[in-house]
Symmetry: C3
Subunit: 325 residues, 3 copies
Amino acid sequence: MKLFTSVHDVPSIKQFVKDALALKANPYAHQDLGKNKTLGLVFMNPSLRTRLSTQKAALNLGMNVMVMNLDKEGWALETQDGVVMNGSTVEHIREAAAVMGQYCDILGLRSFPKLQNREEDYSEDFFNKFVKYCAVPVVSLESATRHPLQSFADIITIHETWNPLRVGANDKPKVVLAWAPHVKALPQAVPNSFAEWMCKAQAEGMIDFTIAQPEGYELAEDFTLGAKIEYNLEEALTGADYIYVKNWSSYKEYGKVLTYPDGWMMNNDKLKFTNDAKVMHCLPVRRDLELSSEILDGPNSLVIHEAGNRLWSAQAVLKAMLEEL
Amino acid sequence: MKLFTSVHDVPSIKQFVKDALALKANPYAHQDLGKNKTLGLVFMNPSLRTRLSTQKAALNLGMNVMVMNLDKEGWALETQDGVVMNGSTVEHIREAAAVMGQYCDILGLRSFPKLQNREEDYSEDFFNKFVKYCAVPVVSLESATRHPLQSFADIITIHETWNPLRVGANDKPKVVLAWAPHVKALPQAVPNSFAEWMCKAQAEGMIDFTIAQPEGYELAEDFTLGAKIEYNLEEALTGADYIYVKNWSSYKEYGKVLTYPDGWMMNNDKLKFTNDAKVMHCLPVRRDLELSSEILDGPNSLVIHEAGNRLWSAQAVLKAMLEEL
Amino acid sequence: MKLFTSVHDVPSIKQFVKDALALKANPYAHQDLGKNKTLGLVFMNPSLRTRLSTQKAALNLGMNVMVMNLDKEGWALETQDGVVMNGSTVEHIREAAAVMGQYCDILGLRSFPKLQNREEDYSEDFFNKFVKYCAVPVVSLESATRHPLQSFADIITIHETWNPLRVGANDKPKVVLAWAPHVKALPQAVPNSFAEWMCKAQAEGMIDFTIAQPEGYELAEDFTLGAKIEYNLEEALTGADYIYVKNWSSYKEYGKVLTYPDGWMMNNDKLKFTNDAKVMHCLPVRRDLELSSEILDGPNSLVIHEAGNRLWSAQAVLKAMLEEL
């Protein structure tokens, strides 16, 4: 693997999930693979889970890790070509990325959208230029439009916890991505990416996938092709085995927080419609705004387990990259 | 050892000091113990000595280390339960701590008091919740009310430098904790912790312990039980073998800098009352405000030696935790 | 090697370049040398290339690395002696440096000039005090007046790319340091250091060295002794094999950005005067202000190759220090 920015970089989800669970069973079996290899983690935005899990994954594989918090360094990068750099940007991404590629065998990059200009964010201009100029394999640690290490951990978690022998079980797990309220305008990266992975998992026969959101919160079609779309949360939840709760800002009225009807916070009342569904969230979660404390502290929550699986999704990706270095 | 937050987690100071000095004599003898074990260091407040010494201690034991400066990341944690999280806190400590516990075998946490509300600070609510929710062993890197790695290094330093054969030596070293001036309101964590360790060391027959401070600067009794309390600095210093200089804000008028009589800065004039006492300070020290330059640059100062021992106190604690993982 | 702050710490440039290129050919051959040795990297100012390349160099040698971003920590250090520390500085450099020396076998320090007071900056007071009080070997990661790891990488790059068999080649490469415009007042550290290394390389018979700058931008003579000084850029460039482009603020009118004639930005038009010269820059570079994009993106640019060699200059220095620990 030379690049990991979306589900399109993964030939088979089923096989990749198997690889990750084999690593979970035997985390330190491949330490020779990473010997004298260096992972550089470049953050243009803050990170807790992604940073720690990816760092630990690399250490498990015997790699060295160097972290650069460019957001904290005031190291403003220029991305436009042909600009006379007499302003506030101190270095062009052409040089900055190329230089980091000189010292690292694999680079990870986190770069959030600005949520100002949809075309700019969805072009993934910054991310793509970084990939182009650094000249080494790149792992997305969340880009403007996707968070594939998170989505991979999500499908690992579903696969791992699904019990087909449960009384009254569906043939395949019914997975619902359910929009939830928030106070801030959040990117669509996590739901885009989750949808994209679930649509492919559905195509591979692993799950059934539904997205529920209020009017105006539809995601871009590129990411949701094949998903069942619902505007009525109760109908969407009926018979669900997994609910993936997440807020996002509007794609149509780009980056806006639109008004929405009451009743989109996930709580135990809504669980009644489900098949005793497990509840997931990528974290950080706003308690009692997106998701009720009673769920988060109860037996249906998978959120910590899911965060733990971030380690194995990162380790599977890094292992696949190391094997082709 | 599953938890290291105070002297109460230590069965015998004497034995623990011996363990630390054995590590100092042979720092790399236990590198297999830490193989594939990860220490996460979580800072809610800045750190220089604690961070470097604990990181080095872990490396000596063969561990990996991941550092999170949450104070720099603007990652404000919610600690109250039942709050609708529609404000400035981005994640609840229940999730944040649990997630960090997923990626680390041992966690270290630094969390200062706010010095606004004594009950809140002395409840150690933040620290205790972190311990509860992270579900892995925790080392205090200084909490609202204690700094046990510092105090452990202090008793190591006293034990290591005490010469009972010196002409005119006391049976046991006389140790004096002496309040000193400062321009800022500082926590009581270091003096609380030092007093607690010295009272236990006194109970184990290792030292005699006296605390000297101006009126109004008395520490909480829980920490000082068994200590001799003095308000006259010269009387306290008479016959002292070790002076531990430190400023703290008032516990009674909580967090306040009260007026105090002249003469509490430690200098060579005051050393005359002592038994040629060695002078200690946890650092950072305000020169010529808390402690005179003539002492710091002279033969009686132990402050750099003492800071060096931070490494061995951390290594002894981590070793004891690794042995029970 | 106990100290690396300038070319004066290097007995023979020729030999040191050979050592570095041997490491480049065989990066992991000396991993036992760094086992259980710790490098502390202390940054008073931001760093990208220096931090990553030095960290990677240490890892290649089997060392552990601990990074301290003191500029980000608000850890303001006092450097003056005899000051009552009742102001904003929280720790004296005497203690801070000594403590870091307790936990590290080798320290690296970056400390920029303030560009306010020439005498103060050129005394290297901060750097020298750090060296004095930390009591372990110190590598300069750029000081007020020099950037020797950069200059060492520069001469490695020239040596490595010079082809004496090229038709029409000079006996030795003609190297020109060429001032270029910028919007900010930059230190003289990089050009000082480059000049100092090139003058010594010239004395060792490796190159011919010329400096070109507008009136008022002359560097301090200590650094340029032996160099040919030109005020006419075209004349300086005539027959050049290497051009080292760099902005600096005035030394004479200290720290000032003076007016200068048009035509000092390096571009393809100016390359015509040269012997198809290779173009170098320490980076970060302001595109189309210091150096044209056409050069940076064309075949004459060595800037990324040169940045890559930062790794081997750092590794050669650390290896020389480890050998004498």
